[in-house]
Subunit: 379 residues, 2 copies
């Protein structure tokens, strides 16, 4: 089975590429290395010393993972089209979007880059599938952030919400009314509309994975060799909350909690990201009457709970003003039956958290720039 | 009051610019003249002989309508930003989108142009407002096509649908679950998400006008002089259904009805378009907690009814295969209380239809190319 991974050099893309290659899929990565360029722009860095893409590819080969790499910007439709036509993939996995909420809220430049890049990329991919082979299964990384956190809507279902239309008393499933919290999250809401229409009009086979906040660094495959190490972001722009906490603990600093810490969020370990995507690819949707939407999450925790788990033995918490516009506190309960029905067994926080803290502390202490931790823009 | 009209050279934009100028507003038009370029690309034409934008502007001046014109492509953010900053408008009226469903379904090139152009334009406008003056009132031309035509949802409300969430038994108003029928209509659904987020995060003052199918040619102002005449599209790509019918009757040809003609749609006369926009501009929303959405429609008719009205005295109907994916028949009832509450008194079909037929027949018979009528792509 041939798989094209768009954005395969990134935090989720790289471990997924390794995992699927290890499992025997024929993998091609397309990436324009934009995430590495943004590191330079922000004067930030991965705490881990990530190898160049060339070194990653040649090292993977030594371990029997034969991955092809193409440096292409897929906002260029013709380049994308040509390569999809040549590769003839069975599935395309789409990570090729700017993925940091804080980055998308810095200024008009980043807002526009995020919208232009993400929407053009998603739309170009859909067009290449329509024009080349409507049977290609598209697997897209969405986000839990499309849902918003309103109490009125109850437990978060997988993509579709059952409602009664008051004027007609009809019960219907509708695409969950989206309420994104940043320009980045909004682009994933927009992706949903693109998928809905392209599925309706051309019956495309699409799986949208609404992923929780990813944490952790290493997977079985990235641990095989120093040169396969995954990136680990700790800064206020790209570092997800738990990874920021881990790096703060590992370097003997206070944990900085935004607001009260009463925000509940859904989390998933990076190893599970790769596993879930393998499950989705391996089990394409049989019903193409609508877009298949799964919640790709392992568990729900409040930000405060996370901070307290991490400071149980040592370290302390420092509460700072929340730079984001979001509810101070919220309840959250998320369904993840879809991936579980395919065999997903989540890694929960307690099991492996401690390994990551030790790994980050021991190997990477030298790379943390403290001034990069509280760099989130306010919105 | 200063008003910036984006796309002010087009079918709706030009009569609106004249109307508002006549009413005493200070008008600047920004347009990249893309609609004129597409005419050349499609080897099609307006049945009316439209003047160059320069002639339009200088003629308008002779009648006391002093309109400024700038030839700018607003996908160029810096150019847009610079001009919004210089002009300091109180309101921006946004017509600057590719607006033909059939055009947006021709091939990947037109699909991509429609999405890239429409989304980048809308997003650039929102960014210029955030960066320059959050009090600028944005008036956007949406479409009834965002709603879709499902029976289950009852009468079409103005943008928001009242539903009961079955899991919590809460009654809430949600943004109407969108179900666009073409890539073009989908871009207006996407615009809704952009508006929702920019309104939520920066409290922007936005009116989204979901317009019905526009028909007619002339308004009081465009009738003042030959050189002010509005464009009139009759072809299978840009001609809206009633205008295609009018031109077929006027030139002694059969009316071509797609499918059974049982599709019910909402209509509005071009003169009412300009009036409604004036009402919206004159009465900005007082509540900025959500986007204000009005349905800009005068009446509902089935395609068959339209055809029969037009062929009552002479002419005949020819039923052709429907090139579109849409319901064969549907019921439709649309609320338009918002604009009516501001004073809107719709022109209905019977009153002025006959004037347009005569006008088109007498003045413009020479310009109709019959081979352009059945040019719609299939989708």
């Amino acid at each position: 089975m041939k798989i094209l991974i768009l954005g395969g050099d990134g935090f989720c893309g790289w471990p997924t590429a390794l995992r699927l290659s290890k499992s025997g899929y024929e993998i091609t990565i397309i990436d324009n290395l934009s995430r590495r360029k943004i590191d330079k722009e922000l004067k930030s860095n991965s705490i881990t010393d990530i190898a160049s893409i060339e070194d990653r590819i040649s090292t993977a080969k030594q371990y029997g993972m034969d991955i092809k790499f193409l440096n292409i910007d897929i906002t260029d439709y013709n380049a994308l089209y040509h390569n999809v036509k040549t590769i003839k993939p069975d599935a395309i996995i789409h990570f090729a979007e700017q993925r940091a909420a804080p980055y998308s809220m810095i200024s008009n430049k980043e807002r526009r880059y995020t919208v232009d890049n993400n929407i053009i990329n998603t739309h170009n991919i859909l067009n290449s599938i329509v024009d080349i082979d409507k049977n290609i299964h598209l697997v897209h990384l969405g986000t839990m952030g499309v849902y918003g956190y309103s109490k009125d809507f109850g437990d978060i279902p997988e993509g579709y919400l059952n409602v009664k239309i008051n004027s007609t008393q009809k019960d219907v499933d509708i695409l969950y009314p989206t309420n994104p919290g940043s320009v980045y999250h909004m682009t994933k809401s927009i992706d949903q509309l693109l998928f809905q229409f392209y599925n309706k009009n051309w019956n495309l086979k699409i799986t949208d994975l609404h992923q929780g906040i990813v944490w952790g660094t290493q997977t079985e495959e990235t641990s095989l060799d120093k040169k396969l190490v995954n990136r680990f972001d700790y800064d206020g722009i790209y570092g997800t909350v738990l990874n920021r906490f881990i790096s703060q603990v590992a370097t003997g600093n206070d944990l900085t909690v935004y607001g009260t810490g009463g925000q509940k969020r859904a989390f998933i370990h990076i190893q599970d990201t790769a596993k879930c995507i393998e499950l989705a690819v391996n089990n394409p949707p049989s019903d193409t009457n609508k877009v298949r939407i799964f919640n790709q999450v392992s568990e729900v925790k409040s930000v405060k709970e996370l901070a307290e788990t991490l400071t149980k033995e040592n370290g302390s918490i420092s509460y700072v003003d929340n730079p984001r516009k979001e509810l101070k506190e919220n309840d959250l309960s998320v369904k993840n039956d879809g991936l579980k029905s395919l065999g997903f067994k989540p890694i929960t926080l307690s099991e492996s958290l401690i390994n990551d803290v030790k790994f980050i502390a021991k190997e990477m202490k030298k790379n943390l720039k403290k001034e990069n931790i509280l760099t989130s823009p306010r919105w």
